[in-house]
Symmetry: C3
């Protein structure tokens, strides 16, 4: 059974199938086994069924091949696969099984019906908005005054875009996303469901009467080309000027980006990370899950910050930091190893002290 | 004043009332005090008003009874309650006050009007979707092609379900939830507002031109019977195969579950926890708030992981872990106690060293 | 180009402009430089363009004035600004540049069209709901039976408010927010997109058959006047009684507030913080990003809890705590400094031990 797509979303309950020789040709692989085997899915070695292809990138995975039900596997050249039965199963030798995985995922992806450009009758589009005729606007979408939506961009059901926003070409804005006024998105930007772009930054000052006065946030969020943002993430607008997400940067789910943050190109922020106000990340930084950076800190190019690390000082380019408070990765693990010895060390020092006292007593009694 | 319910949601501004003898009968309790007192609510000892019942499960709570305004309390058998005035207030003796609380919450819950099955005229249902006639579909719900909605299931206002999804019987999917294509939910699954099921996993590889190429995620999310998922949580679809949430598992708000995670039965994940890609939790694991597990880690049956703990290695069944990096609970607190003594220890060692130098000087001068 | 606003949201693509003498008059500032310069925006020193005003609150910022392109700056009295060219650029001397910033943000904020009171034809309002005629109800809003919406309150597109809710006057409830049944909001409450108020608390007990039974949550959430809540935050309803957010408290994005929490006045909770069930925060507490407080803990008035701190014990009024597990701020940094010396200390102790062994050997051989 196949279905027509809504808003260009993936459909296709049908699995695709390929022969091993088909796959080998597409991957540029040499075959060890029957080339006529039909494969209709892919999975990990331990989860694969008898019509699936799997992946072997190292000796430890190769050791599981005998017990796997998979009928084929992409194997990195040079990895020995013990117990392979070439009469009934096929190995496809490739330079790199991980890269082959990426190709196979694309091959086996369910059929996508092309989006049907146009504006759903149940969308609310301000008459001054400029919607490219090739864009696809789903049901219950709101687009505010003066907002521009680019070519082939898809706004899924229930997306809410405020006034004077610019969304570039070939963007995918998924269900429930809210983009507030005057934010600017480049081309090929993808935002997953229920994220919020352009919410007010978090800034107050005492109002002198025991309460707090809100700082007006008049800036915007600017998202460059090829950025992807996960589900339920929040990117605050700048107090003034702009919060910037650089080209090709990838942001996971439940991430918080504060006001006036500036992120460079090709950064990777794993889920539940948080950047406080006015943080700068230079290009190619990587932050593990739940990492945090304090306000106004500057993180140099290519820094790698481990999961759950807390950054409260500027970080040099290329640094690798771990822990809260953060330390150089090597130093962090040295300290942790030392900490494990600390309870014993305390006893040792007590004994040394006792021995010294005893010596003092001995020598004074002589 | 009572109102008709929308979508079977709780209504009922009216408080219910019961006599102490009513309550005692339902709880199987012995009464110490007047049995005709009327109770119309329940609350903690310090917050209860003069028509409320409260709870006493230990001596420390019992000590607060005299000052509480509550007119009655469920008390665990054997707990002595000093100063109880049995002429004016009632104690209900039960085997376990905590379990009695669960029963009383159900008793005092506001009246729920039964859901009115049917499809709201302002919902958008694909003609190929199969909606059970006993299901209740709210306003502004979208249901995609080929999707199945089970008996007595409620989709609240603004729920967005994509193509080829299966939702079982007796599920409650609350406002603003997004479920993406081909995900499968069992029976009695409850999902709270604005959560996202089936968002793409977070996976890229360098594209060789300075950018990053997205890995297509062709897998799904499979949620088994009796699972509850909180508000604003995100569960990513598998790269291939499926992300699995086992039966009876309970997931709190703002939780991130990565692609290809496999969670067993009856696990409990408190708010803001995060599981990276391909993590396995066996049955009966418990994770405290803000805990995190690194990708590909395996957590054995019944492991208990404290709040804010970071797991970067496999965890044995039944282990109790605390801290980031995680340590055995007992060892963690030993290390923390030792750490508190460390500044003093450094001084002690310096003194010992000084004494040794002095001794060396003394002996060489002899 | 200006546009009509939807729901009173900011519009205004036009920048406003002021002369330096205008600004000086409004700020009560003395001018050092030409008073006729026209300023049409504001930004940080390094990002400002040639028609922007910027801010100098300290010597380190003053040192950057020469290289800034800003044409004017608000400068705290007494801060010396080296290299200032008063022929072409203007300094505005104010008592406090930070406070001047707040004023300037308000001055330069884009024009807001007044909200157009009334109910959008595409909203779904229960006939028993009481909507003040001055309120503005956007498209695709749902308001349940018995719910009251106050004067001048704005419900943006897609807001979902259940039954028997009370929303006070002058509130702004932004797109996609869900407020569940019987919750009560005061006046001037602001809630940012996709947050959830009144979701069920997280409470279960073993059902005796290998599964878990959900505790019914019959309480509510009560939010007092002048509270602001960020985007994608979740505030759980009480098990019984109420979860309370005190007046003037400010809560950032992605924050979790558990059932039965009681927060006092003027607290500040930065993003991704979490309070477990039944926590009490007294007035004026401040929690840094990603901080967490364990269930039933009591945090005294004015406590300051650093980012990523984990509170597992009660906290005294005015305490300053850092770390997980939390320690007094001064003690925490002493311990961290000591920890950095620990690997070396272990070597020192080993040497001392070796020396003692040698001495013992020496003395026994004598």
């Amino acid at each position: 059974m196949t279905h027509e797509a809504q808003n260009g979303v993936l459909i296709g309950a049908t699995r695709k199938s390929f022969t091993v020789s088909d796959l080998a040709r597409r991957l540029g692989a040499a075959i060890e086994g029957p080339d006529s085997i039909v494969v209709d899915g892919l999975n990990a070695l331990d989860l694969a069924g008898p019509t699936d292809i799997s992946f072997i990138g190292s000796d430890s995975y190769a050791a599981r091949w005998v017990e796997s039900k998979a009928v084929a596997a992409a194997v990195t050249l040079g990895v020995e696969v013990p117990g392979h039965d070439a009469a009934h199963r096929a190995l496809l030798r490739v330079p790199n099984a991980d890269l082959a995985l990426a190709e196979l995922l694309t091959l086996f992806a369910p059929v996508v019906a092309p989006a049907t450009p146009g504006i759903h009758p149940d969308a609310t589009i301000d008459p001054t908005a400029l919607i490219d005729p090739t864009a696809t606007i789903g049901a219950r979408v709101t687009v505010g005054a003066g907002t521009q939506i680019g070519a082939r961009t898809i706004l899924e059901t229930g997306v809410n875009i405020a006034e004077d926003v610019v969304v570039g070409d070939d963007c995918t804005i998924r269900a429930g996303v809210v983009i507030r006024e005057r934010c600017v998105l480049g081309h090929r930007v993808s935002i997953h469901p229920n994220s919020v772009i352009g919410s007010d930054g978090f800034g107050y000052r005492p109002d002198g009467r025991g309460g707090m006065q809100k700082l007006v946030h008049i800036g915007i969020v600017e998202i460059h080309d090829d950025v992807e943002i996960g589900a339920c993430s929040t990117i605050d607008r700048a107090k003034f000027g702009k919060t910037v997400i650089g080209a090709h940067t990838k942001i996971d789910n439940l991430v918080q980006i504060g006001h006036n943050v500036r992120i460079g190109r090709c950064c990777v922020l794993a889920s539940q990370t948080g950047l406080a106000g006015t943080v700068v990340l230079e290009d190619y930084c990587q932050l593990g899950a739940k990492a945090g950076v304090a306000d106004h800190r500057h993180v140099g190019k290519g820094a790698r910050i481990a999961a759950m690390t807390g950054i409260s000082k500027d970080v040099e380019a290329g640094a690798e930091l771990v822990g809260a408070p953060a330390a150089d990765r090597r130093q962090f693990w040295l300290m942790q190893a030392a900490l494990r010895k600390l309870p014993e060390l305390i006893k040792t020092v007590a004994r040394l002290e006792h021995e010294n006292r005893r010596r003092d007593a001995d020598s004074s009694s002589k």
